[in-house]
Subunit: 580 residues, 2 copies
């Protein structure tokens, strides 16, 4: 089986697969390959950095350095990984994605979230330019409408049904319609420019169908000053639609008697959706619906109206333009840099190396930045929903486990939580993310260093602690009592990468997002899977439908529980008897 | 090597270790052991439930059902696990812990967080009663002080330096001093009783040394109405002490000119600490310091003043008494129930089975409850810091990997994020947690089911989707086009447990906490490790000290970077040149 250009279709059929497996065995058995030794080689380490510097435009003067010298790789290992990339057609697949080919094969769709970031007035060039021109026009038509609408609402031109200005925004959406926007929202809360623009306004996210989430999201807001943004591509997502109907009732209960339903929904509810008939039936005016396209996957949609509309209402459109510019900057890096200097490619290949060959199934995302507290949850979704697949693009069952488990909390918090296991328990490859400048610098007389330097001292120390470890001899020479020494030994040799950026502003948030989106795509392309579908979420939905039917019939008609496994029946009976 | 009573000291030296390894191979190879088949056996499933019912007291009428019929075990596997538990002296170790023996061997300390929940007027009985009597008195002396202090502050008897009542509380602490209290705080926000008691008050947690966390925690509060609670056992935790000094400056900047430092710190700062000299030197009055003891580990401290003081200020002491009663209820279950009906024991043994024998290193915590959104982060800390160890209690290097990676987000949110991987990618054993009644019930005319039933339909459906899967034949009979079928196949056979509780109130939060604390202890006891030390956090702290010195010298004296690996030096130079 081979691809059209003669290269093997599947990673596991390539010679690199065998050589990488052999290399991994060596890394597991040869003590001379310990990171303590590898990181003492300045030539090796100097070569294991890639960077991205911004010369002009919104991010001018900023830079980003990616250091992967603490990964368990030799220069030869990297060459084997680049061979694997070539053999699996990585460059060709990336070019296909860029050009709008239907790389989401099972759904027959293009994957063009990068088109969402292509700047206005700069339509794509080259042979694919023509094909993408329509997408480019569509994107900017929506962005222009968002710009105007956000200015209207923020400026008080669009007011609520009772004439008050609307300063509270509640985004109702789940999964990709929430996690991405939520991460960006948190990332910019302490950014000076964004915070100034947000003054006096709030943005909340209502995702969970749990009524507790509704209660906590809405109960202390004034409906007269609140806008609900319903985000669902198809306008059928069960959780989102129930929450949307619940929010509509809350608005009508608060405002409807005076103003009437059409005015309340017309002024206070907008949608991000492609389903114009359904949004109209819901009562949302067509001019208050902001579209996106089938070539934007939910988990890749934060750069579309899904993220840009609610975040422009809070932070203003000019701030979100910088976010889009940062994402575009990283897109260009990804599409144009050679593989060996390409940060998402390096990240993705190292992910394949660590998970598929070294056997490390889990990786940690460790931003040394409280503002990035929801970045791990967003990337968890992007990566695990994209690459947690059992079959290759053509349906062949994979002979290895694709996908990685991603988790993380901000440093230094994680140091007082799960780092113990990372240092002395299982090996968890980690990405450390830090910034040269704080969003909220603080420095006090009498303190040895600034608060940000105190934070960053940990960012620099932890990768070395993981890589170098501490030997029994070290413990002995420190005079640690003999019985305690084994407990204070760190085996080291635990891989990590470090990403150091100039400062966390809207531009950098966009860069970071796009780099991690593309990291995931690289791994999927090399593994030969479809990173852009999600058939694995269907079965749970179908079975939940059966349970919903049962609960409805049992609550209304006392119907007995039937058609489930004995365990489920027993729990359902207990549930029905113990609650209402 | 054997224990005093002749049993093998180490799990891997027991006959059960071998038989369980063999059993795991069978589960991986024998299709007749697929969960689709196992869950069709009603007798097997009926036996795989344990429960805890509360007859009287604060949780009267509530119950908790733990169903583990979707774990990949046969009755015989469970017997082998109980054999392993006996052979490794589990019951003896649990009794030792209960009795206050120094089960934290490397630090020579008892482990008595259960004593924190022993009700007033009910001193421990039995042979250990006398030894524990002092601890019991100490605990209630502090709780009595918290009760009085919380009533004083909440009632307006204790006022701020400018005479205003204090309604905002900022808990400064990290790791165990934050994650546990934060989880409980979130869990009770929508509980009717707790919410009523909290009306007009706020509680925030400041953990990260990142100045962004300080900025977001303090900048919109009125210092005149704010109390800062500094939580650090030794009063030396680097992050906490820098944040405490920063918060003190913020209070003094806001109030100091009029009131003077002693009055401001005396009225607005309190501590949870054992280091009375250090708290006094900081300016905190001795009567405003609430102690705990060396037998309370940080990650097990939420039931001590660490959690009870800040949460009593917000929610009132009577609410926290219910929380303690719930934890005590689960403690009694753990200490008194036979292994086969003991929920934490069953959970812990299944954790050992899944991670050590079945090879599943990661587990997911999936509360179908938005209120439990920080429960996974807390348990991540409890479990990973406790059991991520490389050596046995006596320093012997483990011949297997102890500890598990824990992560999770609330359902249904996770369904739209990482569940794809759980269904079609890697196997991740999961705990589903749900409630029969909502904290905020909502039911609307025209909807088929209540919002809570909609949520819980998913709680019941997902475990079956994971266990049963969907075959190629199922896809064929559904008429799915041939090319898509392999993408829509779910291999199933993915283990999970379900925990169904009556309602999430303070009592239930306490139960849940204690059950998961004890789950972790069970695994540590069986693995033969010390779950109560954390030497693995030391190296990073030491190396951060070196970086701090370098940053101080470079910022103040332009000292060149020296003494680090070439990678770290290069990144440090970039950092110093790009920020300030």
């Amino acid at each position: 089986m081979s691809s059209p250009d003669g290269a093997p279709l599947f990673a596991w059929q390539t010679p690199s697969w065998v050589s990488l497996s052999t290399a991994a065995s060596q890394f597991h058995s040869d003590p001379s390959l310990h990171l303590r030794r590898l990181t003492s080689d300045a030539t090796r380490c100097g070569a294991m950095q890639a960077s991205l510097s911004v010369a002009s435009g919104p991010g001018a003067g900023s830079s980003l350095v990616y250091d992967y010298s603490r990964q368990q790789v030799l220069p030869a290992t990297l060459e084997q990984l680049f061979d694997l990339a070539e053999a699996t057609g990585l460059s060709r697949k990336v070019a296909s994605m860029r050009a709008g080919d239907p790389v989401n094969g099972t759904e027959g769709r293009a994957v063009l979230h990068h088109a969402l970031r292509q700047p206005k007035g700069e339509p794509p060039k080259g042979p694919e330019g023509g094909r993408l021109g329509k997408a480019h026009e569509d994107v900017h038509a929506v962005l222009d409408r968002i710009e105007a609408f956000a200015a209207e609402v923020r400026g008080g031109g669009h007011r609520g049904a009772t004439g008050e200005s609307i300063v509270n925004y509640v985004a109702v959406g789940i999964g990709g319609s929430q996690l991405g926007p939520e991460f960006v929202n948190e990332a910019l809360r302490a950014d000076a420019e964004a915070a100034a623009a947000a003054k006096g306004r709030t943005l909340r996210f209502l995702a969970n169908v749990d009524p507790v989430d509704v209660h906590l999201s809405l109960s202390d807001l004034d409906p007269a000053r609140t806008m609900v943004i319903v985000i669902s591509k198809t306008f059928t997502t069960a959780e989102t639609m129930l929450n949307a109907r619940t929010a509509k009732r809350w608005l009508l209960d608060g405002l409807g008697k005076g103003a009437g339903e059409a005015a309340v929904v017309g002024k206070h509810m907008v949608a991000v959706s492609t389903a114009l008939e359904k949004t109209s039936a819901f009562g949302i005016k067509p001019e208050n619906v902001f579209g996106f396209w089938d070539w934007v996957g939910g988990r890749y949609s934060v750069s579309s109206a899904v993220g840009v509309l609610p975040l422009s209402l809070l932070y203003s459109y000019p701030v979100m333009q910088k976010f889009l510019a940062g994402a575009h900057d990283a897109d260009r890096h990804f599409f144009e840099k050679p593989l060996r200097q390409n940060i998402p490619v390096l990240m993705g290949l190292l992910g394949v190396w660590n998970s598929t060959f070294m056997g490390y199934a889990t990786r940690a995302l460790l931003p040394y930045s409280q503002a990035l507290k929801r970045f791990p949850a967003h990337i968890q979704q992007v990566d695990m929903e994209s690459n947690g697949k059992r079959v290759a693009m053509d349906g062949t069952e994979l002979p290895f486990a694709a996908g990685e488990i991603n988790f993380g909390e901000p440093g230094t918090n994680g140091q007082h939580s799960f780092y113990q296991l990372m240092h002395q328990g299982r090996v968890v490859p980690a990405d450390f993310i830090g910034f040269c400048n704080s969003q909220a610098p603080m420095e006090f007389a009498g303190e040895r260093v600034s608060n940000h330097d105190e934070l960053m001292a940990n960012f620099f120390a932890q990768p070395d602690a993981l890589a170098l470890g501490k030997t029994l001899a070290d413990c002995e020479s420190e005079g640690i009592p003999e019985a305690l020494r084994p407990h204070k030994v760190f085996s080291g040799n635990r891989p990590s990468s470090s990403l150091l950026m100039t400062r966390l502003d809207a531009f950098a948030v966009g860069q970071l997002l796009a780099i991690y989106e593309h990291r995931t795509a690289v791994q999927g392309f090399v593994w030969g899977i479809n990173s852009f579908d999600q058939w694995g979420v269907e079965l749970g939905k179908a079975l939940a439908g059966n349970v919903r039917n049962q609960l409805e019939m049992s609550r209304k008609n006392k119907a007995t529980v039937a058609g489930f496994s004995s365990s489920t029946s027993s729990l359902l009976e207990h549930y029905l008897a113990s609650g209402k």
